[in-house]
């Protein structure tokens, strides 16, 4: 195994700058992809909240007695909380009953004349002044219909979709981020596969003799896998360091962009480790592509390639 590791180090000896540059490119692209992925994931709950956030106003029927208002409020609370999926919502729900007296109190200050005229109607106040229950929070779609079905509720309306344009923008942003991550991953793999093939080419002579000594396919693939994995590991370490160094600053600045982004979660250290692992995985995948190009096709076949044979033939002619 130690011999194969030394073989794997050949590209670092022959073309060290290519390896170092590639490792840093891996690190940067993995870090960038990591941030984009983190943002995509962070936007998910924000979009969900904006989609579901609404104020439901349930108007009480005139025939509901004042003494039954609290019981009706309790009934609405129960029916809302028993709606499937509603209990799993992590956002708090605010239930508020606005009775005749409270309504008049609310309009007293901004509209004193109107409040005075209503109060003068005495017995008709009950019919003139609206009473309603407001529910604020993130609700399942079925909640509005459930509230409407409560006896004593005359009608109910919702402010749902008031953030539709913002939700649309965030959704589009999430798709852009996903496409960017996929594009970056593709670019990264393509670049690394080219590097791996170059590295594998550097191993070609050594592998051809190993093959003739009876080496198995995994022995032949090991140097390219190791060298690919090494580039990926160094790249992953670079991204891990970058993540730990930049993420607090980035989060702070993102949150300042919009109050809606204040819910973005703090990047976790597990994410940094995932970036490192991602670097290694990408390196090994690209290394295996290089390894396959060198060892895979001919590991168990007679003969390497005509190109090698012809080279040997011309060498023989030159030296003979």
């Amino acid at each position: 195994m130690i011999y194969l590791l030394r073989l794997a180090m050949r590209p670092w000896r022959v073309a060290p700058m290519s390896q170092i540059f590639s490792a840093f490119v891996v690190g940067f692209l993995v870090l960038f992809s990591g941030f984009l992925f983190w943002m995509e994931q962070g936007l998910k709950p924000i979009v969900h909240r904006l989609q579901g956030e609404q104020v439901i106003t349930a108007w009480l029927s005139p025939d509901v007695l004042e003494s039954d208002e609290q019981a009706l409020l309790k009934q609405v609370q129960d029916i809302v909380l028993s709606t499937p999926g509603q209990r799993s919502q992590r956002y708090p729900i605010d239930f508020r009953l606005t009775g005749s007296a409270e309504f008049l109190k609310q309009i007293e200050k901004p509209y004193p004349e109107l409040a005075r005229q209503v109060q003068e109607t005495q017995g008709e106040v009950k019919d003139l002044v609206p009473r309603y229950i407001t529910l604020s929070g993130v609700f399942e779609d079925a909640v509005l219909e459930q509230v409407k079905s409560v006896r004593g509720i005359e009608s109910a309306e919702s402010s749902k979709n008031r953030h539709a344009h913002v939700v649309g923008a965030y959704r589009a942003l999430r798709w852009v981020v996903r496409i960017l991550v996929a594009g970056l991953a593709l670019a990264l793999l393509t670049g690394l596969i080219h590097l791996a093939r170059m590295n594998a080419h550097l191993h070609r002579d050594a592998l051809s003799i190993l093959r003739l000594w009876g080496a198995g396919p995994w022995t032949l693939r090991a140097p390219a896998l190791f060298s690919g994995g090494l580039v990926g590991m160094i790249g992953g370490l670079t991204s891990l360091g970058g993540w730990l160094a930049i993420s607090p600053w980035l989060l702070q600045n993102l949150k300042q962009l919009s109050p809606m982004l204040s819910e973005l979660e703090v990047p976790r250290w597990e994410a940094a480790l995932s970036l490192w692992a991602a670097g290694i995985v990408i390196g090994v995948i690209s290394g295996s592509a290089g390894a396959w190009s060198v060892a895979g096709g001919t590991a168990g076949e007679v003969g390497a390639s005509d190109e090698v044979g012809e080279r040997a033939q011309s060498t023989a002619r030159g030296t003979a």
């Binding site: 011999y3 050594a206 009876g214 080496a215 198995g216 168990g300 007679v302 003969g303 033939q313």
Partner: protein, 241 residues
Amino acid sequence: MVNLVSVCKNWQGQARVLDHVTLELKRGEFVYIVGGTGAGKSSLLRLIATEDAPTAGSVSLFGYDLSSISPTTLRAIRRLIGYVPQNVQLIPDLSVFDNVALSLSLANPRSQFLSVDARKKINESLERLGIVAKRDQMARALSGGEAQRVAVARALVRSPELIIADEPTGAQDHEHTWSMMDLFSRANIGGATVLLATHDREIVRRIRKKCVVLKQGRLTVEEVGLPMMMTGAALQPRKGV
């Protein structure tokens, strides 16, 4: 042991290098392959060493037809061969000792680590070829002659059943040539089949063995001792011999 039937080899865009070569080697034989430049000696050895496949005809080793065996069998056969290619093909990133040790460890894939006996065997092999002093030197730093001796040590240390050597003495001085030939002879006495390509008429004259002569890709003469073509001026004896 080795059986070639009507073997042809063409390189792309070139004339036929081997033209319907038929050859049979029995276990324990020592055979020279001689011939002029471009006669097809190296191509023939590359086919027998499983480095190349023939364009036509069949090559059988140890009773197995190479065109129809499984990869596992092929690997097992390769572990029985000690091959010294003309261009040596040492692994430059490894030391002399490690080059030989890697060859030995691949011949015995079940043993993960080199035993004390294996190390001793490698050192003895290097000593006999006069390169034990360079055992820790990187292969890339060796001269052509030294590299050739390491390649021979690498092939012989596996105790192969079939030794294939392509001009192994080409870059050797007088002393090392004969110590190398002595090792090949000993291996042959020990039961190994030896197939050796050479230009050196002195080797063929002194160590009289079966000779196979290749001329323009055709196997033309087969006799014991110095063939007629090697008595000509084209192949001069080495200086001082």
